[in-house]
Amino acid sequence: MQIKPRWSVPLAAATAAALLFGMSACSQEPGGGSEAPSGDAGALKIGLTVDLSGVGSMIGTPGKMVAELAVEEINAAGGVNGQQLELVVADNGGLPQNTKTAATRLVESDQVAALFAPVDSASRDAAMPTVVDADIPFFYPTLTEGQVCAPYLFSTANTPQQQLQETIPVVQELEGKTKWFLIGNDYVYPRTSLEAAREFIEAAGGEVVGEEYVPLGTTDFQAVISQIRSSDAELLLPVVVGADTVAFEKQAYDAGIGANVLPRLTISYDDNTMAALGQDIAQNMYVGMGYDMDLDTPENRAFVEAYRAKFGDSAPAVTAYSIYVYATIKAWADAVTTAGSTALADVAEAIVGQVNTTPAGEVTILDNRYAQESIHLIKYVEGGEKEFVQTFDNVIPAETCSVS
């Protein structure tokens, strides 16, 4: 075939012209050119970047829904400092690079006053430089291993330390067993979680008899199951995430080490996971998490009612992965009202120490930008029923780092 690249010329010119035209048009989009988003006329924009199309859409979709609900409720109550809120959503497709692009668009074209990102930690890190440049608060309202602290980064959901600290001793006591096997996917969240777990287990007089990490996307867990069986473990603490959870639990159940034999304490299995496992496999699992839709508190009943009213009964379950988006947007709105400003320094000053009553219980953001909140120990029992074993209020996140 013929390669005589001189045709490149007109094509290049045409493309350049098209791009130039297209982009100058784009940059004149409403909001793109406006300066500080103040005044009565313009709405105050906040940005949300979530995964709507990739594997994380099971978290992203309810995350987006509760964000819409929060904004609607805030606006119905008169907005923030007399200004209506506008939520701008950007899909990140589950990729860190796309998250960076999405964050940049929200910050630069939409000039959002704050960015909310219930995404994985790699995507959070990808968005960070953009947020630093923009000098706005960055809210990370989903389960996180912690360990990253910055003045602008507010991690408002549970950390594994919070989820495990109080629940491990209770489970040991309820089951009368102390020998644990730890298993997780091989990346930072499970590793950090299980490192913390080991500490709490030993502090509670327990013993870790095995620890294993499997790559993300593992489909065959036989070798690990053999390992668990050949250890003399009595309790299992799995931090296996996503699709791997179902594969691991089903195979373990078939191999005779389901939760009926080897009780689990988990911090990552939410309602969706349990539904995917089925009631037999889920039975006898303990979950330590900051939220469950069936929590029987007035705040939660009101929230669930509003959520169902807005999105219908078939809307996806809200879990600890997504509820803090709702809670955090509301907390931010309160802080802005208190401070009378959306500037990072003012918001930070107002929001730290502010006590927020949320569907998940009381949430207070501390100095290191992590939140003190409630953890609920839930046990799945026969017939897919949940038993709320105990609620621990005001659990303090571990000081894994601090804001200097």
Partner: protein
């Protein structure tokens, strides 16, 4: 002793699953020169069909049949619409089947949703094998894989159809001059490969979850097995056993990540060590 028996059974059942997936993949790759990136999606179609069949109350064998048929139908359609234009170029097959896999994943997502479907275990429980309690379903898998390979090998080696297929694989044009309609045989082979994928999808369903993008997790191990097996369909079995052994034992004794990398190193060594003549197929 118990540990040994348990490990052997684990390795065999891992190898059974992996080899069934690799079988379909290897047939299209080695016999037709198609790198089928949509193989995992054919698995997914099979798994979905079986779950939906179960949901309307059909017994498991019928669900299995539904999965195989659904994947075969989709595979045949894909062959007629796209794949038959790709035989000339393995490179083009990358783009074509990549597009196909996206279409299938997104098509299912849009029509049936993204959530996990539950595929229940048709043979729950365990039985004693040499004094070790072992899940029945895993044993069924080992048996199913063995029977399947037997059937495929008999088909390829002891039937006129098999001879024709091998002739087309060796030289499609030459086979045409001998009166074999290679285009129709290619359709048969590709459909069979898709049906095998569907079968594999139904079989792995109860071991994991059923979701639109489930295929990706299985496909790379299968590719590595196909690479290690070289030009041979029979060698898929030892290749699958080798990979499963390395993966299981190294996971057990050392670390899963080391196991995974060790398998890739084996694949590299095989690729570097065994030079093969393209188009030459030994069965």
């Amino acid at each position: 002793m118990d540990v040994v028996i348990n490990e052997v059974l684990s390795i065999l059942s891992s190898a059974a699953i992996a080899s069934v997936i690799a079988l379909g993949l290897g047939i299209t790759f080695r016999l037709m020169g198609i790198i089928n990136l949509a193989h995992g999606e054919f698995m997914m179609i099979g798994a979905y069909a079986a779950v939906y069949a179960g949901a309307i109350g059909l017994p498991w064998p019928l669900g299995l049949l539904a999965g195989v048929l659904a994947a075969a139908v989709v595979g045949a359609l894909a062959e007629v619409l796209i794949v038959r234009w790709l035989y000339s170029s393995p490179e083009l097959s990358i783009l074509g089947t990549y597009g196909l896999s996206i279409v299938l994943i997104q098509g299912v997502q849009v029509t049936l949703g993204k959530g996990y479907l539950y595929s229940s275990n048709p043979f729950p429980g365990a039985i004693e094998v040499f004094g070790v309690a072992y899940p029945i379903y895993r044993l069924v898998l080992i048996g199913a894989a063995a029977v399947l390979f037997l059937i495929i090998l008999l088909l390829l080696n002891a039937t006129p159809l098999g001879t024709k297929i091998r002739a087309v694989a060796a030289d499609g044009k030459l086979a045409e001059t001998l009166g074999i309609r290679s285009s129709r045989l290619n359709l048969v082979v590709f459909t069979a490969s898709a049906a095998l994928a569907g079968l594999a999808g139904v079989l792995v369903g109860p071991l994991g979850n059923v979701r639109p993008d489930m295929g990706a997790d299985y496909i790379f191990t299968a590719f590595v097995i196909v690479i290690i097996a070289g030009n041979s369909i029979v060698r898929l079995i030892p290749a699958a056993i080798l990979v499963s052994t390395v993966q299981n034992l190294m996971t057990f004794w050392i670390d899963p990540m080391v196991a995974k990398i060790a398998v890739l190193v084996i694949a590299l060594l095989v690729l570097q060590g065994l030079r093969r003549t393209p188009g030459e197929v030994t069965v």
